[in-house]
Every structure is written in structure tokens, then in C-alpha cells.
Symmetry: D2
Subunit: 400 residues, 4 copies
């Protein structure tokens, strides 16, 4: 699909995501880690303005673009230190102004100028890749918007309903890829392997997926489906949340302080979802787990989590690798050997988060179509569990 | 004015207050002490439903009232332990649902049933006084709504504008009552005096204004106007915020921790108001002061704050006693001798807050017309300053 | 007793208090509100050095006094802003140095120079009263030292034993003054009364006890003994800690957050004391209560706490007024009409604490002999309960 | 050296370490992460009692050992969930009791029974390896004791002096191994290498050093000396602590919140050490850096930190690898492929800490002689800097 057309569709998709919302939902921020829907709409727009339109206008590639008021940069910058100060993350919910109408009008102006840039035909490779980055960035925020909304809604005793779409996609995705039942193990003989974005592949990738590099692996096996609600219920029934020997020390402290007894959105025999409260299906993959819970479960099961290299090697052959749930790995989020962040302020996109976080691989049912990729490295802190995370077991080969 | 008519007007006034708002403003909560506009609309309605309509229907005085869903009690209860659990105060901003339309529909149903109760003619004195209490309660929240909104808006770098009304009322009120210039002192000879709501007065009063009781006062004098911006600027210029000897120890800790350098909404030579940023008028009364600041200023000025008895005695002769700013007193908020809280759950209205707070007297420009009263006891914590507070100096008599 | 002799005895008494301690106890600080024993020894010495010896030497009244190293001022200043910066209160336990031997040597040098000052005969009234203030100050810290030690020891699962003395004094004091059994009520007719330090009395008093002033009181009655462990157990058995309607809102929040279920040192049927764990005597006065608990108990009992004026008027006729437990009053700690703090830095002694605290009256079994006084105003925050506090009931007269 | 003799010497060394202390120092705890000296003495003794003596007596290998009072298990357990509850880490400083004499007597009893166990000759391999583990454990705590003491002392404005020994060892170690001056680079060609404890080596190792396993490395080079104070001063002079682009996002937040401007103990041109305040030698290795600072420095220098595999491969040829400072690596602390924790409660020793920490390699001047090892994996959180940490630069090969 041509870039102009994709741009138009991706931008349009953000608007569709907020269409079921009440106006008051637009500023809903359940916690500092999450952002309100209106902020996502504004921030993705700011990204295009800051990294594409203003430089392009300065370079004479477009004209007539009227940037947002200077103060909006303070409101909608997420974490780019090179670009300037910004509102505290936990205060984004306080931005009842600018009103949604102003943000939408801004989106339109930005879209118009982006099309102008594309149509001008003078935007060569560096511009096109910034534009592509903005588009990928907006897709990431589409997923964030929904998971942040779920967090915010979950704090409302009324258990608001967003809509059925995400749950339908979830059920369709996991069922279609694996019927349930006992998991089978896929073996890999290990050895000297390569992971990371292939240099010859000119499709988009984030800087943190490169460079492709060699890794030595011992023989291993991965389960051919994700751990299910039923599996996880057995862990709970076996005292999983009461047995410190199953947990990282740091994780056990979190369990104790926050009183965790189950995955994030479990409520009695139900789970809270974007479709409201729904009965849990034992065969469905368990979701909204922290890394600590995934790690403890794997230990309880006599297995372990896969490393990201193991996952990447077998994923093409694995059901439920994409479109269901992000899958925690055993790998801390660190740079690949030879990693160099993208030049300029967008170098802050990924590189500065490479401490105290763990990698998740795959994609989930909230991920916009076409946004997933074998080498994609998602990352969250080990105690986070508001995103659509699940887990797949791994083990050393040669085990019965 | 008949109760039915007043009820109608007061309820209508709440709606007028939110009419200039954007939908996103309805859930704006700047801090745990403040509440979002929609919550104020819901809570005042809950108060009528809980304390008037449901009991009245149980007593057979009205029929056909359909209460809000049970869960709304959890959402809109403020602090009535006798009535049940409730959402944490700081989480009120998370209630993007129920949407405003549902809250407004609820208001209408409640209004209808309240009129039915009044028209039935069977509502005798206890019912009427609960209804009156609900009405006074709603008026209190009308003032709270505006001061909470100012707090929330003040955290937005865009400095949103609510409207000109409140500032016009402020300017009108203080100028009309006192032209500015050097304050004069009104003397009182002290002696055995009486304060509190007069038993013979059948107008409304809160339980905490009674019983009327005797107090011994030494001769004293009160200033005939409030301390002005210009006065307070002199305090600042004289190092007021840098001199611990002027402050209560607890206040000095607050000053140091929060980095206070001026009253809450001062910004350069302006102040942030509901009308947006406005140049400060040196002659206008200084506002948005904590008790600690008022107390420190008085000490710096060689004076002191008035006791609430002193204030009540001279207020009828004092300009700027009502309609401008609440005035901090030297009196901790404690029960009058012989105080008995109102029976039932509404006894929680005032009585349980009688620790670690200070009394303010008078009323302010945000107070709804007709809601002020000579014996009215307002109260806030000594570090609070988001409300429309000011101060008036007192001194012992016999001073030059 | 001559001042020189009293000085010698008071200073010696501090040393006796620490003689049963292990060296490691000298730096024990259980919480920020409490101080380690060695710090008390140093701080009281610093007080004499700073407010008496150095000024006296500057004035030529003594010579040869070698002040402690300059840095010690930072270590041993408690809260005198006028005198300079100081170590954070909660960090006093970190002062393993200077070692106790150095502190004791300093005490000796200070004692020597104080005697030199007294013997010189040139120390006129202002000097003598500063010296007297230092002595009274040291006596206050003798009591603090023991209550702070109890707090610190109470956090050690070994339940360390300090010694039997304080418990023997406690038992002796309450039993000797009242045999137990049902309390009787002492009536007072109220009227225009006077409280505060009598101007004609040249004995020592703190600035906050003056000026003597008139107060109007309605008729009232006070119980002739303190509330007992048995009385308080009935409150607990009646759900006292589970019924929010009995509590100030602020107190209920404290109860909930800290999980209070009983007075501070109750453990099963015992109480932890400086003599270790001891069986609770139902007839003994209940102790280590916060103001919130005292206030809730009084409400539960259908009574109230006495105002400080009420207490002061009847105390001369009341058993258990002195030497048993400090008694919470209903009075916030605020200045008397006409109050003026002592001149100079010692003006910070009392005046700057007159917010958000409540007055206690009387004295306790830890109070050094001769340190109690009818007009003495002690004060603590309403949630504090590590000091030897108890309560006495009051009620309006005319009740059955 | 025979085990009995080593045991005797190691246990004796702990006592020598505390011999320069004042009694009050024995309970000094500067922060929750650090422990007081007396606690270290008790905890190491508890380790022998719990994991060796009590089981050995139960197994009939020794007799007559009288365990410490049951409550001491609560006091001196560090983090072994399998063994039971324990005092909160930050409260260890509150343990003024048991007094040091009791702890020392306990140590003697334990030492006697350990020798009895050894002399009995029935203690076969599993017992001997638990005994060896206890001995290695005590050596770890000898180093911790000194670094914790430095933290505690550093909070005292008097800048206490422990003694000259550690500084002399530091200076001797770094000077002897490298004269200073520009660092040279040692190259390694990479390839498929092995790291971890060699199976054929029967010397002691912790479980986390095994199993030995293969790793693929690209060609790299390591500097032949540690980064010096002078090097680091250049980083500071170049705005190192003001430039967010040099830092991990998480590290930048720490820098901002804590106001870091230099390594932990730098004070003006000096550094605070166990020998008191000392002038910083520009040629000496910089120490007391967090991982965030080490990582930022490396980025500023155009280099990176070594992985632990890189370090382990070249360490035998590297000056300043051992005995100077622990060296931060780029490697998160995670299990080696095939890792299995030691069986029983001692399995909690290392395995449960494998999240959100970074590996340090080598040893330092505080490490007891004979306790260092090529495969030793030390680990701390990325913001920790109270231990004797430094850094060595790495870079990809082929660079000029």
C-alpha cells in the first residue's frame, strides 16, 4: 500500500478507536503509567509536527503549516529530553483543555501537511523514514490507548463497556491458531544462530531490533501454545501466590505489598475486559500477568521462560506467536551487540529504556494489523501488568 | 421565597455553574482534596436521594421514585460512614462514567420527586429541615465546585478561562464595601458576650453553630478591611517567606517542603483566576492564603488573627465581612459548649471534623447569594489554600 | 533548695537515668519523633552552652569555658531556627559519634562553668532565669528520654527491660491517690474564672502558661479518677475501634491506616513497659492513648474531655491529677490571650508549636519530682501516643 | 590451609574488623540497604547455627549445642523465607539488644561446636560444603560490614575515622597493578567461548557461577586500567550530570530526584573514606558509582561497559581486575543456561535476586584475602553506589 494511503488509514484508525467513548473518557488516566485517550491523539500528532513537519517546513519542503501553540509542546511531549520540558506523566489526565475539537482540528491540519509533503515528491529517504516512524509510532499508541483505557475503566465500579471488538479479535486469534488441550513441545537443536532485523530486509524496524547478530544457544524446546487460564488456576490452587520459593525476591515483595492473588483483571470467576465483565474461558490464554507472575508460574511448572533468541527462532513455526498476547521472555531489555540509537531526538525512542525492563515478543489482539514483526522487541517493567501480556513455556532440550 | 421555589432555583443554579465547561472539564480533579464538577452534581443529588427521598418513600410520603443504581451510592457518597463504603476521595476524577447525561437525568428525577414531596403537603418539620439541609448542602458544593475547578485549571499550563462572573463579583464586593487605603480599627470593650445561633431565630443553621453560649473577651479591635495584595507584598519584600521566626513550626515545615514564596495563585505580577491570568490589584484583598500564611502575616504586622467570637461580635459593623473572602480566625474548629451533632447520619456533616482544622468566618464572592450568615463556621486545615480565603487583622485594645 | 544544688542534682539525675543502659542503647531511636538517650544528654548540655555559657562568657561573667566543636551545634540543636541549621530529627540515631565519653566530658565542663557562673555572684535575674530554664528543660528531657526509650525498646522483639523503678512509681502513685472502683464526680458551678500562672507567684513557669486571664465556664463536673484499663477494655469489647461514629474523621483515618486495635503497648493480656512485659491491672489507669482514642472513649461513655480551664480549676481537689499520667484535654494548644513568647531564641521554646496539637495537663510517673505545676501545659499531636498519656472524663453539670 | 584453621581465622577476622569501633557504632544503620556491625556478627553466626549446627545435631553428628533463643532467629535471619519471618531490613538498627557481649558469647559457642563437628570426622562432603558456604558467607559479610559502616559514618557530620587499613590496601592495590597514565586496550578476537565455573575445578563457587556454558562473542577490547578520578572529573566538567542524552531514562530520573552531581562520597576536592576525609588522587580509580553513572560515563567516552563474558575472558591478563574495585558490567544479573539453585533453604542465597540487578566482576580492596575468584558474580541494583564499585571501559574491536 502506498505510504500516503497507509498514513491516511492509520490516522483514521485512531479516530475510530475513540468513537465509542463518552467525552469524559477522553481525559481518563487511571495511573501515571497510562495516558488519557485525548493525550494519545495529541501526542502522536505532536510527533509528526515536531519530527517531520516543522523540520520539513524549515527545509522548504512544505509551506503554510501553522504549528500548534508553543505551550502544546509542553503538554504533548512524552519523554524527549532533547525537545524540551514537559508535563509530569501522571498529570496528563489534568489536561481537560485543549478541548477535543481543537485536538481534532490540529490532527486535520497535520494530516493535510503530511500529504502535502508526500505529494510534493521531494521527500527523499530520510524524510520518508521519519514519516514511517511517525506512522509506526501512532500504531504503537493505538495499542497503548486501548490498554490504558482498560486500566482506567477497571477502576470504575460501574465496569464500563468499551465494545466487543477487542474481545472478538482475542477469541478469534487464539482459537484459530490452537484448539487448546495439552501443549506440545517444539524442539530446536540450538547452536550458533542469528537474530535481529536482517540487513537485506528493507521493511520498517525500530533501531533496537538491529543489528542482526550471532548468538549461541543450547538445545531447547518451546510450548506450542500459551499458558491458559486453566493452567494458571492450577498454579493458584497450588498456593502459587503464597509460596515465596517460586518467586524472585523483588517479585515476592510486590506480591506482598500489593496483595496480588490473581492476574490483574480477574474478578471472581470472571475477568474484566473492554467488553465489560466476562466469564473466564479456561482454555483461553491467561493475560495481564507481570513478568514476576510469568516467571513464578514457569518455575512452578518445572520450566522456564524462553530467551528472546529462542522465541525469535521458533516463532515462525509457533501457533499463538502473533495477534493473541505479548509473551514475556527471560531476557532483560538490553542493546544488541553493536547497537546504535537512531540519530537525533528520535534516538530517545528506544535506547534510553534499556535498564530494569524485560522483553516481550510477538504481538497481541490490540496490536493494529500489519504492525507485528518477528524481530519486534516490546519491553515493560517486571511488575507491570496492565498490558496484554501472556506467557509461553520453554525448557532445555533432552527433558522428557 | 417558598421552599419549592428556592429548591428549584438552587438546583438550577448548579447547572448554570457547569454550563461554561467543556465536557472533559467535568471529570477534572486537580488533587485529592478537590472534586470534579460532575461529582459535585452527582453527590448533591445523592444527598437528597439518600437522606430525603428514600426515607420519604419508605415512610409512604412519596411514591414512584426510582433510586439510582445501588453502585452509585459507592460513587457519590462523600464521607458518611453510616451510609456505607465509598470510592477513595482522590479517585473521583476516575469516574468518567456515568456520563453527564445520566447524571442530569438523575437530577431531574430527584427534583421531580422532591417537588412531589413538597406538594403532598405531608412533609412536616423534620422532613422540611432535611430538605433545607440538602439545599444548603448543595449551595456549599456550588462554592466548592468553583474553587475546586480553579485548582484543577491552575494545573493546566494553558491557563483555561472559566468566565468573568466570579472576578466581577469579587471586585464589586470588596470595592463597594471599602475603598481601600489605610485600615481603621473598630474597638470592642470585651466582657461577657454571647455567640452562636440565637435559639429564637428559626432560620437555617448548621448544628455546629449552636448552642449559643457565653464567652469572656478582653477588649480588642479589628481592622475595617481585609489585608490587601499590597500589604502582603510588603510582607514578602520584608523576607516573610524566609524568616522562620514569623511562622508556626508546622507552617515553616510546609513552606520549606512545598517551596512557597507567595499566595497560591500568584504568577509574576499577575494572579491566576477563573477569568484566567489577571494583573493583581494592590488594593484588592489578598486571597488563597493558608492559615499558616495568615498567621505569619499577622505576627509580622505586630497583630494577630481575630478569634471567632471577636469576629462574630463586630462583623455586623465591619466592611468586607461577607461576600469577599472567607477570613481565617485564630480559633481551632472545636465544638461549642453543649454541642450535640444532628441525629442520624447527617450528624457526620460537621461534628467529626473538629480536629486539626481552623475556623474561617464570613463568606466569599463564590458563596451563593443568601447562603451567608453571621454565625456560619467554615473550616479548613491550616495548610489549605485553594479556597477563597483572606485575612483581617485583630489586636488587643489599648494599643496605639 | 539553692539553685546551685538543684542544678547539680538535676544534672546528676540525667546520668542516673542512663546508668542501666547497654552502650548500644545510647543511640537507639525508634522513630523520628523520639530521640536517643545520648542525644538527650548532649542536647540538654548544648542548651546550657548556647543560651547561658557562651553569652555569659561574651558578657565577661565567666571565663575559660571551651565550647564544644562548632559542628556539635549542628548535631545537638533540636529546633531553634534562630541558632542555625541542624541534623534532621529522624537522623539523630545515626550519631554514633561523638562517643558517650566525649559527651560526658562535655557535660562535666559545662557543669563546672555553670557553677562558676553561679558562684561568681554576678549572674543577675535574667541569667538566673535562663539557667532555671535550662534546668527545667533538662527535666523535660529526662521524661522524654524514658518515653523515647520505651518506644525504641518496644520495637525489639526481645522486649528489653530497663528497670522496675518507673512501674513502681506508677503503681504507687495511682493507688495512693485513688483506690479504684466507680469514679465519683466533682462538680463546679462555672462562671467567670481565672487560669494561667498567677502574676504574684515568682516560681518558675513557661511562657505559654501566661498571662493569667479570665475565662467563662458553664457548670461542669470531672471524674475523680482516670479512666482505667478495665474501663477501656469495655470500650474495646463494645467495638470501640470498629465504630466510625465514635471518632473524629481524622482519627478514624489513623485507626484504619495503622490498624489500631488497642492502646499502644497492649500485648495480649499484658502491656509492654520499661519493666518488660507485665500483666495489665484492670484497675490501673489506661495509658499510651492518642487524643483520638481518648476523645472516642469519652464520646462512647456519653461524656467528653475536660477543657484545660476546667481541669486547672478542679485539679487541686482531684486525685490522680499529678504523678500518674498526663491527661488529654479538649483544648487545642493555642496562646492565651495576651501571650508573648520569651525574648530571643528561647522564644521558640513553646510559641511556635501552637497549631494542630492538643493540651495535656497534670504530670506523670516519669516526670522528675518537683517538675509538675498546676498551670503546666503539655502538648502533643492528636495521633501521638508514645508518651505517658491517659484521660479523665468530664461532663456538663446537671446531668444525672 | 585446613578447613578448621580457615574457619578459625575467618571467624577471628570478623572480630578484628569491629575492634576499632565505639560501642555505639555497633548498631549504626545508615539506611535500609545497610546493616549494623553487630547484626553482621549475629547474622553470620545464625547462618552457621541454622544451616549447619542444628541440622548436624539433629543428625547426631554433634551434641550439646545449645541454640540461641528462638527469637534470635527472627532478629538475625536476613532473607530466607523458608526459615521463617524476620525483622524488617530497615529495623536492624533498632536491635540495641542483645548486647554485644551476648552476641560474642554466641559466636564462641558456635565456633566451638563447628570445631567439634570438624573434629568428629564424620562430617562428609555435604556438611563440609555447607560449612564452606558459611565461611564464604561470613567473608562476604566482612566486606559488607565495612561498606555499610562507610555509609553510616558518612551521614555523621563529624566524619568519623574507622582506620587507615582499607585506604592503604586500596592505594597499594591499584598502584601496584597499574602505574596510571593513558589506558591501553587489550583485544580479544571473540568467537565461541566458555565462561562459568569449570566443572573439573573442585574449589568453592556459588551456585550462580555455574554451569559453565558457551557464549558467542564478537571481537572486543577492554581497557587495561579502571577509569580514574581524573577521567571522571572530565566527564563532570563536560556536563555529564546535566546531559540527559548520556543516561538511561531510569538513571536520569534518579539523578534528578536525588540531585547527584558526583560519585557518592566526593566532598569538594576530597572524598570521604573509612580513613576520614582524604584528598582525591586524580590517578586513583573512581569509586562509589552507580551502574547508571558507569553506563553514562562509558557512553560519554564513546565506549561501553564490558559484558560479564568479556570481562571473564580477559581478566587474567588485566591489571586492576582484583583487589581494587568491583567493576560494573553491561550484563543484567540472570541465571546461566541450565542454572539450578542449591537445594534447600540455601537455594535462596543467590537465585531469587536475578531481576533488576546488574553484575559486577572482580573484587575490591575490602574483599577478604582469598575470597576473590575469576567467575565470581557480584550484583547490585543499578542505582546502588554505597559499595566499592568502579568501572572499566570496553569497546567493539576494529575501532581506532
Amino acid at each position: 500500500m502506498a505510504l500516503a494511503q497507509r498514513l491516511s488509514r492509520v490516522r483514521q484508525h485512531s479516530l475510530e478507536l475513540v468513537s465509542p467513548l463518552e467525552p469524559e473518557d477522553l481525559c481518563l488516566q487511571g495511573m501515571a503509567d497510562a495516558s488519557p485517550p485525548k493525550w494519545h491523539l495529541g501526542h502522536t500528532t505532536w510527533f509528526f509536527e515536531t519530527f517531520v513537519l516543522v523540520p520539513a517546513q524549515n527545509a522548504g519542503l512544505i509551506s503554510g503549516y501553522q504549528p500548534a501553540p508553543h505551550s502544546w509542546g509542553y503538554l504533548f511531549n512524552s519523554y524527549y529530553d532533547a525537545v524540551g520540558e514537559r508535563i509530569a506523566r501522571g498529570d496528563r489526565g489534568l489536561l481537560s483543555r485543549p478541548p477535543i475539537a481543537s485536538v481534532l482540528a490540529w490532527r486535520q491540519r497535520v494530516d493535510g501537511s503530511l500529504q502535502q509533503l508526500l505529494e510534493g515528491g521531494q521527500a527523499d529517504a530520510p524524510w520518508l523514514s521519519l514519516l514511517e516512524l511517525g506512522l509506526q509510532h501512532e500504531q504503537q499508541h493505538q495499542e497503548l490507548l486501548l490498554m490504558d483505557l482498560l486500566d482506567g475503566f477497571s477502576r470504575n465500579p460501574l465496569e464500563p463497556v468499551y465494545g466487543d471488538g477487542p474481545e472478538q479479535r482475542f477469541a478469534g486469534a487464539w482459537q484459530q491458531q490452537h484448539p487448546g488441550g495439552e501443549p506440545q513441545w517444539l524442539d530446536h537443536g540450538g547452536g550458533l544462530v542469528e537474530i535481529g532485523h536482517p540487513p537485506g530486509d528493507h521493511g520498517f524496524h525500530f533501531d533496537n531490533e538491529a543489528p542482526r547478530h550471532r548468538v549461541w544457544l543450547e538445545p531447547f524446546a518451546l510450548a506450542d501454545r500459551l499458558v491458559s487460564n486453566g493452567d494458571f488456576a492450577a498454579f493458584i490452587a497450588d498456593g502459587g501466590y503464597q509460596r515465596p520459593e517460586l518467586w524472585m525476591s523483588e517479585g515476592w515483595a510486590v506480591v506482598s505489598q500489593r496483595g496480588w492473588q490473581a492476574p490483574r483483571y480477574w474478578r471472581d470467576d470472571d475477568a474484566y475486559t473492554l467488553a465489560g465483565r466476562r466469564r473466564r474461558d479456561p482454555a483461553a490464554p491467561v493475560r495481564h500477568l507481570s513478568w514476576f507472575e510469568a516467571d513464578a508460574y514457569a518455575r512452578w511448572a518445572g520450566c522456564r521462560l524462553p530467551s528472546e533468541a529462542e522465541w525469535e527462532l521458533l516463532a515462525p513455526a509457533l501457533p499463538q506467536a502473533f495477534g493473541v498476547l505479548w509473551q514475556w521472555t527471560a531476557s532483560p531489555y538490553r542493546p544488541y551487540p553493536g547497537f546504535a540509537p537512531a540519530p537525533g531526538a528520535v534516538g530517545e525512542y528506544n535506547g534510553k529504556f534499556m535498564s530494569s525492563q524485560m522483553v516481550l515478543r510477538g504481538s497481541c489482539h490490540l496490536t493494529p494489523p500489519g504492525h507485528d514483526r518477528l524481530t519486534y522487541r516490546n519491553f515493560f517493567g517486571p511488575a507491570d501488568r496492565w498490558m496484554a501480556s501472556g506467557l509461553r513455556l520453554a525448557r532445555d532440550a533432552g527433558r522428557p
